[in-house]
Symmetry: C2
Subunit: 352 residues, 2 copies
DNA sequence: TGACTTGATGAATACGTAGTCATATGGTGT
DNA sequence: ACACCATATGACTACGTATTCATCAAGTCA
C-alpha cells in the first residue's frame, strides 16, 4: 500500500554505457577496461575506473554470461544430511572463489525432487556440476551429461563409468585399517556398513574383507541402514546382543562409528578394551577427546582441488577420468595399542 | 592438442527460436508457453512442448534474468567453520528450491576476502542476500544494502540497526536456561562465551546474568576465544584449575560446550555430578548419547523460513524489521535432575 | 448485422555486455 | 620520406528471452 507495489526499488542501474558517457570513451572501451585491461592504455583505464567509481558502476555478470556463454558458476548437488558434507562445502566454496567462480548449491531430501533440481540446473547454464550425492540415478546423470554440462562425481565411485570421478581410495584405506587391526591382535572383526548397495560401502567392505581374509580373519557384514549416528547407535545394540562378540568393529563412516561407540558404551562395553572400533572419513569430531576415533582422514581440500581441476579442464584429454586419493590412517584411542611400533603409535600413515 | 582447443564442446544450444521454427509458432509464443501459460491456448502449448521435447530445449535462465531483471538467485554469506551452519545451509537450499529460487553460497576464512566476495555478489544481481556471518563490518553491509540489494541478517543481532534481521531469542533462551539451573540447585555459575564482542555472546550472557542475578547467583564471564570445540576444551582446562569451581557452566554454544564437557571429563570431573553444563543451539550432536547436552534447540527451518519471507517480501512495509524466534529448552543428561517437575524432566519448554 | 470486447498470436525491440571489424595513431626500418 | 607494424579505440552486432504494441479471429450484445 504505502510503497506503490514496485518490487524494483533499486536505484537506476548503471551500465557500461553510462560509464562510457561519463568518462568520454566508448562502451567497448569500458568493457575492455574490466575484462581485457591489456587492450586499454593505462590512462584510459584510470579515466574509466574513476567514472565508474563516481557512478557506482559494477559490471553485470548476467549480461556478461549471456554474451560470453560462461557463467563462472559451478553447481554442487549435496546430500541434505551428513556431517561429512560441511567440510566439502566450505572447501569447494573457497577454492572456487579463489578461481573467480561461484558456487550454486543444491540439496534435496526426497529423491522425487531430483528431476526438479536437475531441470533447474540445466536452466542456469552452469560451467560445471559436482555431484556429491549418491541418490542420483545413472540415467539422470547421463541425461544431464548429454547436455554438454561438464560433470564430476565426488566420492561416488559408482559414477565412474558415466562421468569423471574423484574419490578417496576407499579400498586401500580400508585395507590399511584392517591390516592395522590384525596387527593389533584382532581375530574377529565385524564390518558395519551404511547402505550395502552404495559403491562406497562395497569398496570399503571389499578392502577390509580382503585384507582380513589374507590374514585368516573372517569379516561378516552388518548393514546399519543409513550413514547416520542413529543407525550406528542401533547397530551397536545388535552387536551387544551377539553371541560371539567380535574383537573389533570396522565402521563404514565416522558418523556411524560415533553412534556405534556411544551405543556400545551405553551398553556397558569398554571401547577399546572390550571391543575396538575404527571409522572412515576423518571428521573433525573424530579427533574430539570424547571419541578419539581411529579413522582414515580424507584430505577434503585435496579431493576438492582435484575435482575442480577435472571440471575446469574437462575439455582436455579423454572424457572419462578417475582420480583416487590416498587417505591418512590416524590411530587413536579406540584401538588397544597392545603392540605398537614407531610407525603406528598415534602417527599418520600414508595408505595410498 | 588432441581436441582442437575449443572449451565449448557443448551441443549447439537450442533456443526458443529453434522451438518456434519446429513448432510453427513465433518465438514470443514459445516464451509465453513457459512463463505465461495463461496467455497461450492449450493446443498451442502442447505443440510447443512437444517440439521442445524433440529438440531438447530448456529455457535459458541467464537470458531470462537479463531481460526480466530478476535472477531468482539468493546469496548467502556463511562462515567457513562451525557445526551450526550445516543445518542452516540445507534448510535454506531446500526452502529456496521450493520457491523456485536457487542458493549461491559464499564463504570465506580471512576477513580480507570480504570485499572481494561482496564485489562478486554485486556483479550477480542477486534477488536477495542472507548475511549469516558476523565477520562483516557494518559499513560494508551498509554499502552493499545501498545498491538496492535486499539483505537480511541471520542470527546476527548486531546488524539489526542496519538491515532487517532474524535471530533466535538469545536473551530469553539464556534466561530460561539460567532459571532452570537455579531450579536445579546451582549456586555458582560460570558463563563461557565464544567471543565477547559479538552481539550473540552479549545477549546470551546478559540473559544469563540477569536471571541468575535475580536469584542472587553471581555469573562471572570467561571468554573461550572462538566458537569451536578446541576453544571449549581449553576453557575446561582453566575451569579445572579454578579454586572455587562453579556448580554449573553455561556455555554460549553447543560446539564450545562439547569441548568443555570433554575437557572436564578428561580432567577427571563427572558431568553432571561434579559440574553441570548447558549449551545453546541444539546441534544434532547435542542429543547424541555421548554428550546428551542440555541446550536450547533452535528451529533452524523456522528461522530460515522467516528469513526468506523477510527477504522476498522486503518491498512491503518499512525497511527495518526484526524477528526473534523462541527456542526450545531441552533438558538432558548434563544436568543433575535432583529436583524435577513434570515440566522439566526431559521435556521441552517454550522459552519465548 | 454492426460496434465492441475478449483471447491468441506475431513482429519488433530492449536488457547490458563482449567480441569482430575497421580506423586512427605513433613508432620502426631502410 | 615511404611502407610497415603494433597499439588503442570506436562503431556495430549478437547472446536468448520477455514485454510492449499491433493484428486478427471469434464471440457478445443490442
Amino acid at each position: 500500500m504505502s510503497s506503490r507495489g514496485s518490487n524494483l526499488n533499486r536505484p537506476k542501474a548503471v551500465t557500461s554505457v553510462d560509464v562510457a558517457a561519463e568518462s568520454g570513451v566508448s562502451q567497448a572501451t569500458v568493457t575492455r577496461a574490466y575484462s581485457s585491461p591489456h587492450l586499454v592504455s593505462d590512462k584510459t583505464q584510470a579515466k574509466v575506473f574513476e567514472a565508474a567509481d563516481r557512478l557506482g558502476y559494477v559490471p553485470n555478470a548476467i549480461a556478461r554470461s549471456l554474451k560470453s556463454q560462461r557463467t563462472d558458476i559451478i553447481g554442487a548437488v549435496v546430500p541434505a544430511q551428513g556431517e561429512y558434507w560441511q567440510g566439502f562445502l566450505t572447501a569447494t566454496s573457497q577454492q572456487l572463489v579463489a578461481k573467480g567462480k561461484q558456487l550454486l548449491l543444491f540439496s534435496f531430501v526426497s529423491t522425487d525432487e531430483v528431476d526438479e533440481v536437475l531441470a533447474a540446473i540445466r536452466q542456469y547454464r552452469l560451467d560445471g556440476l559436482i555431484l556429491a550425492s549418491a541418490n542420483i540415478e545413472q540415467p539422470q546423470i547421463l541425461r544431464t551429461a548429454q547436455t554438454g554440462l561438464p560433470i564430476v562425481a565426488f566420492n561416488q565411485p559408482a559414477a565412474s563409468g558415466v562421468v569423471p570421478s574423484v574419490s578417496v581410495d576407499n579400498k586401500a584405506g580400508s585395507q590399511a585399517l584392517a591390516e592395522h587391526l590384525v596387527f593389533q591382535g584382532a581375530r574377529t572383526v565385524l564390518f558395519v556398513g551404511g547402505m550395502s548397495h552404495t559403491s562406497t560401502d562395497q569398496l570399503r567392505y571389499r578392502g577390509a574383507a580382503q585384507a582380513l581374509g589374507g590374514n585368516g580373519v573372517a569379516c561378516p557384514y552388518m548393514e546399519a541402514g543409513s550413514y547416520t549416528y542413529d543407525a550406528g547407535f542401533k547397530a551397536a545394540g545388535q552387536i551387544i546382543e551377539m553371541q560371539d562378540r567380535p574383537d573389533a568393529v570396522m565402521v563404514a563412516s565416522d558418523e556411524i562409528a560415533f553412534g556405534v561407540i556411544d551405543g556400545l558404551r551405553l551398553g556397558g562395553l569398554d571401547v577399546p578394551n572390550d571391543i575396538m572400533v575404527t571409522g572412515f572419513d576423518g571428521l573433525p569430531q573424530a579427533s574430539w577427546a570424547g571419541y578419539d576415533l581411529t579413522t582414515l582422514v580424507q584430505s577434503t581440500p585435496v579431493l576438492v582441488e582435484q575435482t575442480i581441476r577435472l571440471l575446469i579442464e574437462s575439455d582436455s584429454g579423454p572424457a572419462e577420468r578417475i582420480a583416487e586419493s590416498p587417505a591418512d590412517l590416524v590411530v587413536s584411542g579406540t584401538l588397544r595399542l597392545g603392540r605398537t611400533t614407531n610407525n603406528f603409535e598415534r602417527n599418520d600413515l600414508k595408505t595410498g
